[in-house]
Amino acid sequence: MTGTPAIKAINLVKIYQSGGVPVPAVRGIDMRVESGEFVAIMGPSGSGKSTLVHMLGGLDVRTSGEIWLDGTRADTLSESGWALLRRRKVGFVFQFFNLVANMTVADNVELPALLGGATPRQARERREYLLGELGLTERASAAPAQLSGGEQQRVALARALANQPRLLLADEPTGNLDSRNTKDVLRLLSDVHRKGQTIVLVTHDARVASMADRVVSLLDGEIVDDGALPRARRRPAGTVGDVVELRG
């Protein structure tokens, strides 16, 4: 074990109540993600992948278990406590509806910085940098609806990274994209990963998962497989190793 893990989940359980019937979506997951690590979560539809990342980002309340982010306990936070934490430390990318429909691309990307207390000028500079990196500078004043799916997801990624969060959570960010757009988004992900970004990414796509340091497989709300990918990857920080402890 090296340093403080970016994420540590202990016996995490989520049980939905659906019409009075308990639906266990996540059933006791233990998981550890090191700082700078890129973890892919795979599994069939309905296996609890989304539920897991939602809980890790505080979007959904856990039923039991513990969540530690960056060495501090997070599962006991209130809703607004989670919100404040997300502002600073967690970026999210979903499969759909990432962008506020009525705001321009520029506004969407500047929003997290403004929310974090940056001045409009700082927010603008950060946005210009990010969009420049993504090759989207000339789309800054466009409405999200005018962008292609791939462009939308790249903007969503830019926004998620606007506050330089410690953790990037992505739930099937490429699930809706054709292969060309998927490639664009993946290139971006691997770029930020190379710069040390911790990423937890949910995907169906084995090609996407192959970029990760490690793949965690879920089935019926439990981890059935967890292993580092054999392929060695160039990374500045963090070692691929036995970083996930499986507990009974």
Binding site: A83, R86, V100, A101, L111
Partner: protein, 752 residues
């Protein structure tokens, strides 16, 4: 703050039209309220307008000789003087009667203070010394118009053929006949001709004060300064009191309307905000996933929608002021006084914030997962469709009906969004029928008699004989209105001895029974409340020094004196008081009171026509129409929001419906059936609630105001049926617009 502002700005920019509509709706309601309140204030308190416009004098002092003007002007608090003018008593020969008048000298030039307001004809002119200007209420009473001959007899017996040049109003003296003698303005020369003896005239001077509250003080000082010369003094308070409409009906109907307006404003805003929040859940979820807290979302929504409402309020207040100042210059003279104006601003402000806060609070509770749109319940489609086919119902209707009720919250929003305006409209129609009832059946509000005859120069018997002889007079009731002193009351109450126990005046008894014997009485709600008595109790009082004990046997609808009136037969009074002061004439059905009055005038009777409260309420009808229009628009706007929202949620269903084999027309029918059914529910529920509530509410207000329950009328069935038909028709048309567009559009295959 910056992030929130960015969001608000973007959202407002994206829906300029909607935002404008919200502002306009609120502005419209506030404008209606301001206009209505101004009209009410002006109608019930005409003094204010007349006094302001004529720059009236607060105090009028009558002296034998010309007073010491310099001393008066030097009094503390006096800013200006009117006069002194000479005034002379005289009589006017009118249709064989001699009517006392007061001629008052007036310059032909413009007066800075206390100028009469010319309403008809022209003002005095030095080239026409025979012309006079007559106070309007007096002229009305005598049937005078510009050009009428005006034969005046002075105290010396000489008659002068003067002519009416114009009619004017003035805030310096009350209306005739409350305030007698009738006032006539003449030039100084004319006055000299009619009354050459200077000793028989008096001098009147008006004082305008800096602060009306100083009136009593200034009067005292003026009386001291003028020593023993003062004959009599009148102040603005007496004038105002005599002009004030002693009738609470207008006020209570308007209060009801104010409430309706506030509810309408609340509803419009809550619906606009609620609809917006529902349409925005995804964006709100995105924002929350970025780190917006629940409170931040709520306050941002409150700020955005609250500001729209507040802008609407400000616009409404401004437009209301402008309308009353410029569009209604003849009816409204002074703007609404600060009290009611502030009350409207504050009341609507609170309503706006309250009604915006509820949906905003709901919006703050949106879960922060944007990718999971609320999934509509699915799966029953085909089974229900099969059932529909089985019983041969049009599938569109069945599917629409199923659809309407599966999503409870939007369904409730739609139904109440239609039901509440509909309820308010029905209550408005109830006010309308109540007014109609006043006019058609004045006897139900205690105005069975259309005319009142005072004997004047004639003996009471002769007056009675002449009045009863008229073919259109159905019944004549002798009456007197003595004031009574009631134990433990610091003031007197009005009693009305009218008719006789054996032949009672047709009072509108709504509880208990009519008086039948000497010593029995009926009372208005206000009197029962004032004395804390009930039907069946005995009341002891003193009238003209004679004790009188009556038993209250019933309650009547009593629109006068806040209902604080006790009525009984003339024979219940002590013999010395039981002298008829007037006769109330009940006319035959269909007789025209004005015509009868003219006839009786011709027989030298002093006849006055009873003012129906509804005549002064006619302005309310305009307001009812305006408010009904606003409410209807609000209802339709709500429905449009609801059906647009429904369609958004339906996008995935449309694919299913089309896959099932429904034609575009059937899809459209399904959508219309879905929203239309809810709208029809809302219309019916709202109408039923409004119809049953309106009479109750009006009666409740009647009770509070002392008039007493028993005046409220529900809208007529015809009115209700028409309004339901129109509302349902309009609702279906409104739902048709988005449904048509959706059915034609390419089905979006939901990405999920």
């Amino acid at each position: 703050m910056r992030a929130e502002l960015r969001w608000i700005r973007a959202d407002l920019r994206a829906r300029r039209g909607q935002a404008l509509l919200t502002i306009l709706t609120v502005a419209g309601i506030v404008t209606a309220l301001v206009t209505a309140a101004t009209l009410l204030e002006d109608g019930t308190n005409p003094w204010r307008g007349l006094f302001t416009r004529g720059n009236g004098a607060h105090i009028w002092i009558h002296t034998k000789d010309t007073p010491d003007v310099v001393a008066l002007r030097g009094l503390d608090g006096v800013t200006d003087l009117a006069g002194p003018y000479r005034s002379a008593p005289a009589t006017l020969a009118s249709r064989g009667r001699k009517v006392p008048i007061a001629l008052q000298e007036t310059p032909a030039a413009f007066q800075a203070v206390a100028r009469p307001l010319l309403r008809e004809g022209r003002w005095l002119d030095v080239r026409d010394p025979d012309a006079v200007v007559v106070e309007r209420s007096f002229a009305r009473e005598l049937g005078l118009a510009p050009g009428s001959p005006f034969p005046v007899t002075g105290l010396n017996g000489a008659t002068h053929a003067l002519v009416v040049a114009g009619l004017a109003e003035s805030g310096d003296q009350g209306f005739y006949p409350d305030w007698a003698p009738g006032l006539v303005w003449t030039l100084a020369g004319t006055l000299d001709v009619v009354e050459p003896a200077a000793g028989r005239t008096e001098s009147v001077v008006g004082l305008r004060l800096a602060d009306p509250d100083d009136t009593d003080l200034v009067v005292q000082r003026a009386v001291t300064v003028l020593d023993n010369q003062v004959q009599r003094v009148s102040t603005w308070r007496e004038v105002r009191a005599s002009m004030e409409l002693d009738n609470r009906l207008l006020g209570l109907l308007l209060a009801l309307f104010g409430i309706a307006g506030l509810v309408a404003a609340a509803l419009a805003l809550a619906n606009a905000t609620g609809g917006r929040v529902l349409g925005q859940v995804r964006d709100i979820a995105t924002l929350k996933s970025l780190g917006f807290t629940r409170r931040q979302v709520t306050w941002t929504l409150v700020a955005e929608h609250g500001v729209l409402g507040l802008v609407g309020i400000v616009a409404g207040l401004v437009v209301g002021r402008l309308i009353t100042a410029y569009a209604l210059p003849d009816t409204v003279v002074v703007p609404l006084s600060p009290g009611p104006f502030a009350a409207i601003a504050l009341g609507t402000g609170l309503v706006v914030l309250g009604s915006v806060w509820v949906p905003a609070w709901g919006g703050g509770r949106t879960p922060p997962i944007p990718a999971s749109p609320a999934a509509p319940p699915r799966g029953h489609l085909s089974r229900l469709a099969r059932v529909a086919l089985l019983v041969r119902l049009p599938p569109a209707l069945v599917l629409g009906a199923r659809d309407a009720f599966t999503r409870r919250t939007p369904a409730l929003l739609t139904v109440s969004g239609v039901a509440i305006p509909m309820m308010m409209i029905s209550i408005g129609l109830g006010c309308w029928s109540t007014l109609d009832d006043f006019i058609r059946h004045p006897e139900r509000v205690g105005q069975a008699a259309a005319l009142t005859v005072r004997p004047g120069d004639l003996t009471a018997d002769e007056a009675l004989r002449r009045a009863a002889a008229d073919p259109d007079v159905a019944a004549v009731y002798p009456g007197a209105e003595p004031d009574a002193l009631v134990p433990w009351q610091t003031r007197t109450v009005r009693t009305r001895a009218l008719g006789r126990s054996a032949d009672p005046y047709p009072f509108p008894v709504v509880e208990g029974r009519m008086y039948r014997d000497r010593g029995e009485a009926v009372a208005g709600q206000g009197l029962l409340d004032l004395l804390g008595v009930h039907i069946g109790d005995r009341v002891r009082m003193t009238i003209g020094g004679t004790p009188l004990i009556v038993r209250i046997v019933g309650r009547v609808v009593e629109p006068e004196h806040d209902g604080e009136v006790l009525s009984f037969g003339l024979d219940s009074l002590a013999a010395k008081d039981a002298v008829p002061q007037f006769y109330s004439l009940v006319l035959r059905e269909g007789a025209d009171p004005a015509e009868v009055r003219t006839r009786l005038h011709g027989m030298s009777l002093d006849v006055s026509q009873v003012v129906n409260p509804a005549d002064r309420l006619s302005i309310i009808r305009m307001i009812i129409i305006a408010l009904v229009v606003v409410l209807a628009l609000i209802g339709l706007a709500n429905l449009l929001t609801a059906s647009a929202l429904g369609l958004r949620d339906h996008a995935p269903d449309l694919a299913v419906l089309k896959a099932m084999g429904l034609t575009p027309r059937q899809v459209m029918a399904t959508l219309v059936a879905g929203t239309g059914l809810l709208a029809v529910c809302g219309v019916v529920a709202g109408t039923a609630a409004g119809a049953s509530l309106s009479a109750v509410l009006i009666d409740l207000e009647g009770r509070e105001s002392g008039v007493g329950a028993g005046i409220g009328r529900a809208p007529t069935p015809g009115m209700l049926a028409a309004s339901v038909l129109v509302a349902v028709g309009a609702s279906l048309l409104i739902t048709l617009i988005p449904a048509r567009r959706a059915a034609r559009a390419r089905v979006p295959h939901s990405a999920r």
